[in-house]
């Protein structure tokens, strides 16, 4: 049996019934990483020894009759999550040697169940990017076609699932950074409602938009992992004190009379043919299962990318002020005087995209421009949020593409940042509105590249999108297709 191909729930059954040990499963995944990662570069750090030790501890725990859903399950984390005692780089030279002093809450919750950490995953530096090319540790490649990007910024989180290098992973999503890579790599990626999962110990990019979520092989695993990480955390003042429902109970194959909105602004002329075909096919599937479709309008969609890149860069310029070469991170050794030391350390530590966004954000917040850019963008954000509120008066969920095209080629968009930003057009509005969205595998392109389908729910409506996604998954086998590596 190829243990590295299993889902969380499949491996859990084998572990619980003692047919397989966590040591065996962990060994299988580490061997798979060893055999494939020179071609994918999904991992920044592989923690083989620590993983084997954690697997032994998990096996003892299972031996004593205690087997929680993640006990002994080998997982990996985007390198944006702090992991106590293990290097956390955020794919930046700035944090090349940073050893986290504590665990991010989301990971702490998984660790409590006995999950086994295989290592830390590649990403765009400080989560800024849509292709995972902006990494100080080299670009991650798409396991379905290694000449193509895996998406970003959580590219390693999705590529590791597609390359069968981890059973499940965590990513973060600020403008589509979980859903878009999941779409490009044929995985399930869930961005929960803002406030549903603690951001404590997650390196901050744009704090009013950042949210943690699972990347998995199927919808059942996404529900399981969300269950583990969701909930109020006193250490994150924006995490919401709302009861966490039983997400697995929502996994029912039933979309009868579910009202699904199709935002007309997302189904524009000139949409990539393969993407259009995948959407048509998905709509036909869900309709045959009893769902009702209604056209809706999100009239401010065209303003979302501009709005996002002002708000996100402004917040980033503030958040990244902490990297000054004093308390942690890189320090330029040659510089004279405090200010020069800081400016030089930041120049050496940050890559081009991070510098560009800090510059943009600083400009948007600077004296004389604040009202014209940042405040204006925050007002437009209100209009975008209202669009969703209005749509959700008519329908239960929305169905849209995740990305305008399948995965593009490595290097195709690096010279033109604006073109890169526009590839996030269908995912960004969900972050601005603060609500939840899931990407699930739909019909692949004619060339066999994965294409994701996005289901968007009301705030804290994760159960509804999980149920619809689960129902769709029951009628298709695209999520079972595997990249030939």
């Amino acid at each position: 049996m190829e243990l590295h191909t299993l889902t969380i729930h499949q491996l859990h059954q084998l572990l619980k019934s003692r047919q397989v040990s966590s040591v065996e499963a962990t060994r299988s995944l580490l061997a798979r990483i060893e055999a494939t990662d020179s071609r994918i570069n999904a991992f920044i750090t592989v923690a083989a020894d620590q993983a084997m030790t954690a697997a032994e501890v998990a096996d003892q725990r299972i031996g004593s009759g205690d087997c929680a859903p993640l006990t002994g399950v080998p997982v990996a984390l985007k390198d944006i999550f702090l992991t106590e005692g293990l290097r956390t780089t955020c794919a930046s030279r700035m944090l090349e040697n940073f050893i986290a002093p504590y665990d991010a809450t989301a990971w702490a919750n998984m660790k409590k169940q006995g999950a086994v950490l295989l290592g830390k995953l590649n990403q765009d530096e400080f989560a800024m990017g849509s292709s995972s090319e902006n990494s100080a540790f080299g670009a991650t490649r798409n396991p379905w076609d290694t000449n193509r990007i895996p998406g970003g910024s959580s590219g390693g989180s999705a590529a590791a699932i597609a390359a069968q290098q981890a059973i499940a992973t965590l990513g973060t999503d600020t403008g589509g950074s979980i859903r878009q890579p999941a779409s490009h790599c044929g995985c399930v990626g869930l961005k929960p409602t803002y406030g549903r999962v603690s951001r404590h110990g997650v390196i901050a990019y744009a704090s009013s938009l950042d949210q943690v979520g699972p990347v998995t092989r199927d919808v059942t695993d996404a529900a399981l992992l969300l269950q583990t990480i969701a909930g109020h955390d006193p250490l994150d003042s924006t995490s919401v004190a709302q009861a966490v429902p039983d997400y697995s109970a929502a996994l029912k194959n039933d979309v009868k009379r579910l009202k699904i909105g199709l935002p007309k602004e997302y189904f524009i002329d000139g949409l990539d043919q393969d993407v259009q075909r995948a959407m048509d096919n998905a709509i036909a599937h869900l309709r045959s299962q009893g769902a009702e479709f209604v056209e809706v309008s999100l009239p401010h969609t065209a303003y979302a990318v501009a709005c996002y890149y002002l708000i996100a860069t402004a917040e980033a310029s503030s958040n990244l002020a902490r990297y000054e070469g004093v308390r942690f991170g890189r320090r330029a050794s040659e510089a004279q005087g405090l200010i020069e030391m800081m400016s030089q350390s930041r120049a050496e530590g940050f890559g081009a995209e991070v510098k560009r966004r800090i510059m943009l954000g600083t400009y948007a917040l600077s004296s004389g421009y604040y009202d014209a850019y940042y405040l204006k963008a925050q007002k437009v954000r209100t209009l975008i949020q209202r669009d969703f509120n209005e749509a959700f008066k008519q329908v239960d969920i929305l169905l849209t593409p995740v990305a305008p095209t399948p995965a593009f080629r490595i290097g195709e968009k690096t010279a033109d940042p604006l073109q890169m930003y526009l590839s996030d057009i269908f995912t960004i509005p969900v972050n601005l509105a603060g609500t939840c969205g899931i990407s699930i595998p739909a019909q692949p392109s004619a060339d066999g590249l994965p294409i994701g389908l996005q289901l968007i729910g009301r705030p804290f409506g994760e159960e509804t999108i999980l149920q619809a996604a689960y129902s769709f998954e029951q009628t298709t086998d695209w999520h079972r297709q595997k990249a030939a590596l």
Partner: protein
């Protein structure tokens, strides 16, 4: 919207970023393009619209004013590029 080299210098100083001449030149053209695109927002009438600073309404989160466990001085200093005793050490601020 086009940005001048002087503005780039000013913003880089505010952001404490020592940019190379090549970077300044590149960012001048790229930021001009991105900010021109951002100006599409000016086509929207937002008079009377209140700004959204966070997606989900939350109240101030207070905790009890009580001492609790922390990571401690040694761990807090463990990642410092330079330290002396229980302090971060920095280059001279005043010559």
């Amino acid at each position: 919207m086009s940005i001048t080299c002087t503005e780039i210098d000013h913003v880089a100083r505010l952001a404490r970023l020592a940019l190379s001449d090549a970077e300044k030149e590149l960012f001048t053209s790229q930021m001009s393009a991105i900010l021109s695109y951002a100006e599409t927002l000016n086509g929207l009438d937002t008079d009377g619209i209140s700004p959204t600073s966070r997606a989900v309404p939350v109240e101030n989160a207070f905790r009890a004013d009580a001492v609790s466990a922390s990571i401690g001085t040694d761990q807090a200093l463990a990642n410092a590029p330079d330290r002396v005793d229980s302090f971060f050490r920095v280059p001279p601020v005043i010559e």
